[in-house]
């Protein structure tokens, strides 16, 4: 078993692969680039997290104690931009880089130099964005949604914001193209579309979503740029424009973006739950169709983010109904995951724990999403902490927990070593307890009438804000366990075999741990594919 791979590894050493800093700057290897993406995402997770700590610190009690309201608004704006574009999206791309070639039986991504380029855009994009904190007028403070006319009041950081968004968009589009080309062209013979692992499927659909909507965002911010500097009036009523048109364009990007952030999570959870239930995924094909229908529906629900702008009745009814419809395929997915565990043989290693937390807490976020779809009730929820609670439930214990589940699931494969399971279990429990202390009370705050994006609040909101802040500090501190566990694993983990988890199936587990430099130098044989897909 180890023979051909040892040969492959030896062969790889004869390659003229760069060493030292050149290994990273000139990187064309999917694993190196994947690692850089993940390290970048983790760094941004901590920077964006630090901003969240500033927010929770100021909101710990009523009155302004620490920051100016303008800086507070910068914190909420930058926290969102950094977490969405800097942590979650690059995190998924990192996992795609590592896993897709291994899962489809390919040696590498299809377009390695493009891969290098799409990663290296990101540090520049975020240096530009974060350095806007230090220019006159401060960092962007008009919200990550960049609604005009407010965003046009941004100071010197305005063009920096626009160009940073352009760069992030370019990076995402290039990364997405690479994923599509890899999946469409590099699959080993025998891996038909409906034999692909769900992580590959969800990423394929995510990549199409990215290619479809990132240019829309680029167009929207470019129109802002010309409104600001070149006298156009796309979004100014005085010149015949319409500020609400920006919201329509933005959310036409923004809603598919929501699924860009969550679909890869669906894929990962669909890999982990079968592994630790020791049972094949229930309803594989319906899972694929459910993801595809969610992706389609995501294009026709955008205006549910803006029910209060004063749309015609017919439009509100349409967007309410289309939004409610999304609950159907999403429900199918949750039921399928539950059915996968039903009559399984469950064990609770860290990846499974995080996947289970995802299952419960993402569903809670789904419920509040259903509530938000009801237009008359949404009039009361819109722009309150109820919305903040909703999207943090789907993004933190949703997307982020699934990403951590993925890291804990595949880390032994990447490093060839097992991490400290006990410590990772601690990481799970601390994260799960604190994330609920942090976000659950925000449902109450929103329903009781606390608007979002405010640095100070009426005194009756004090108690739950304190609880929420305590949860926030606890959650933030617990996250330091993640890099510690990963570094400790790389340095001194105990070696693992090819199949790090007893119930794991899929081509990646047929490769040695760590996998060779060029993952599959020869396509896996039918027998290997059949064993990998031993469902």
């Amino acid at each position: 078993m180890a023979e051909p791979h040892a040969h492959a590894a030896a062969h790889a050493d004869h390659d003229h692969k760069p060493h030292g800093w050149r290994r990273w700057v000139y990187a064309t290897n999917h694993k190196d680039i994947g690692t850089m993406y993940l390290v970048f995402a983790c760094t941004m997770f901590f920077i964006g997290g630090a901003m969240a700590m500033v927010i929770r610190l100021e909101l710990f009690k009523p009155g302004l104690q620490f920051v100016d309201p303008q800086f507070f608004n910068s914190m909420t704006t930058m926290h969102a931009l950094i977490m969405i574009f800097g942590a979650v999206m690059p995190g998924w791309t990192g996992l795609a880089n590592w896993m897709i070639p291994m899962q489809v039986g390919a040696p590498d991504m299809a377009l390695p130099r493009l891969n290098n380029f799409s990663f290296w855009i990101l540090p520049f994009a975020f240096t530009l964005l974060i350095s806007s904190l230090f220019v006159p007028g401060g960092a962007p403070a008009g919200g990550w949604t960049m609604y005009p006319p407010l965003v046009l009041q941004t100071g010197a950081s305005f063009p920096m914001l626009v160009f940073a968004v352009h760069l992030m968009g370019a990076s995402s589009i290039l990364g997405a193209i690479n994923v599509v080309v890899t999946i469409m062209n590099m699959r080993a013979p025998g891996i038909t579309l409906l034999r692909m692992p769900l992580f590959v499927w969800t990423w394929l659909i995510t990549a199409y979503l990215l290619i479809a909507v990132m240019p829309v965002l680029a167009g929207a911010v470019t129109m802002l740029l010309t409104d600001h500097f070149f006298g156009t009036t796309f979004f100014t009523a005085a010149g015949g424009g319409d500020p609400v048109m920006f919201q329509h364009i933005f959310w036409f990007f923004g809603h598919p973006e929501v699924y860009i952030l969550i679909l890869p999570a669906f894929g990962i959870v669909s890999e982990i739950i079968p592994t630790f239930s020791r049972k094949p995924l229930f309803g594989y094909e319906t899972m694929v169709y459910a993801v595809a229908s969610i992706a389609f529906l995501s294009f026709i629900v955008w205006a549910h983010h803006m029910f209060t702008v004063g749309m015609p009745l017919a439009a509100q009814l349409f967007f309410m109904l289309s939004t409610m419809l999304i609950a159907v395929p999403t429900g199918v997915k949750v039921f399928n995951w539950t059915a996968t565990m039903w009559k399984g043989s469950l064990s609770f290693e860290p990846p499974m724990l995080f996947a289970l937390a995802f299952l419960f807490l993402f569903t809670i976020g789904g419920f509040s999403g259903l509530m938000l779809a009801m237009v008359p009730a949404d009039y009361q929820y819109q722009d309150t902490y109820f919305v903040v609670a909703h999207f943090h439930y789907v993004l933190v214990p949703g997307a982020i927990f699934a990403m951590m589940a993925g890291v804990y699931y595949w880390l032994p494969k990447w490093t060839g070593k097992m991490y400290d399971l006990k410590l990772a279990t601690w990481h799970f429990w601390l994260s799960t307890v604190f994330v609920n202390v942090l976000f659950f009370p925000q449902h109450f705050l929103g329903l009781a009438g606390m608007p979002r994006r405010i640095p100070d609040y009426a005194v009756q909101f004090t108690d739950w804000n304190m609880v929420s802040s305590i949860g926030g500090f606890g959650f933030g501190l617990s996250q330091f366990l993640l890099p510690y566990i990963v570094i400790q694993c790389i340095r001194s983990g105990s070696p693992v075999g090819n199949r790090a988890w007893e119930g794991a199936h899929g081509l990646e587990w047929e490769l040695p741990s760590p996998p060779p430099y060029h993952s599959w130098t020869t396509p896996p044989s039918d027998a290997v594919i059949a064993r990998g897909a031993a469902h």
Partner: protein, 303 residues
């Protein structure tokens, strides 16, 4: 009464306490857990809709989470559970759990649509008030009576909210939810609001009225409310759309009066404003302070 019945009643009372709340409660406690019922027919319909969908979610949650927890408890490897690897799909079950949610959703969509249609009906109104959001306050204009004035955060809150003011917010009455000149409206009358923005987008929100509508520069949005005949008192709300530095400091207060009190107030205010008409009609008392000059305002002015 059996113990079980007593327990059931206790649980029900607690649930009712948590969920069925006094109309305009602002104090902390149970009122801080749920949406208020409000003081209009529409706000109560919204509340009912909110509770309906909430209980539907709870019911689905009990079933789904129940199945998940059952699996986690019963099908444990450590308890010797052996996986049934033949269970890969079941067309009948899958059809059922696709159709059932569709039926639930339709059942929820019908009352929601009905309320929405009622909510959008701005005809046959008795009083028209133009509401203009600006950075950072509100202007109210009684269109048929020629009365208009500005409404800002009250002085006490404004002093206490400064960074490091040293004033304990709990000592300020209605901290951040009080204004110098509230919007005065009569009860029992269908009031139509014509909402717009002067500079950036704001959103006029009073939860007890069940009204939230964006104030968009260059466009006029409509909303309406009709306060119960027997209600008088103050209702408090906020700007709900991020509008710059002092977004958190432009509350809304609605002073609901009886028809007769309102008419008297309107008459005297109209007379007062006419008297002072020569120097461009200021509100009954002058606004406490113009919005502080800020980095963003300065940039807006210069650029």
């Amino acid at each position: 009464m059996t113990i079980r019945k007593t327990l059931a009643r206790l649980v029900l009372t607690a649930a009712a306490g948590a969920l069925a709340l006094p109309a305009v409660a602002e104090e902390s406690g149970w009122a801080q857990l749920n949406m208020p019922k409000g003081v209009t027919d529409i706000s109560r319909k919204i509340y009912a809709l909110h509770m309906e969908i909430f209980w539907v979610c709870v019911a689905i949650g009990v079933v789904v989470f129940g199945a998940m927890i059952w699996s986690m408890v019963v099908y444990r490897k450590s308890k010797g559970a052996i996986a049934d690897t033949t269970m890969v799909h079941n067309t009948q079950v899958e059809i059922v759990w696709t159709i059932v949610p569709v039926i639930i959703l339709i059942a929820m969509a019908v009352p929601a649509a009905r309320t929405l249609i009622e909510l959008e009906d701005t005809t046959r109104t008795g009083l028209n008030i133009k509401v203009t959001g600006f950075q950072w306050g509100w202007e109210y204009e009684y269109l048929d009576e020629g009365v208009s004035y500005f409404s800002h955060l009250d002085r006490a809150s404004d002093a206490a909210r400064e960074l490091g003011s040293g004033i304990d917010p709990t000592t300020v009455p209605h901290y951040l939810l009080n204004v110098d000149h509230p919007l005065v409206v009569p009860n029992g009358v269908k009031v139509r609001l014509l909402i717009t923005g002067a500079d950036v987008i704001h959103s006029w929100w009073v939860k007890d009225l069940g009204v939230k509508k964006d104030a968009i520069p260059g466009f006029v949005n409509e909303a309406w409310f009709k306060v119960d005949d027997d209600f008088t008192g103050m209702l408090r709300g906020n700007c709900a759309e991020l509008c710059g530095r002092d977004h958190g400091f432009m509350p809304i207060v609605v002073d609901v009066r009886s028809r007769a009190d309102f008419d008297a107030w309107l008459k005297s205010t109209a007379a007062g404003q006419k008297e002072a008409a020569a120097p461009a009609a200021p509100p009954p008392a002058t606004a406490p302070s113009s919005p502080p000059a800020t980095a963003s305002a300065a940039v807006a002015a210069s650029g």
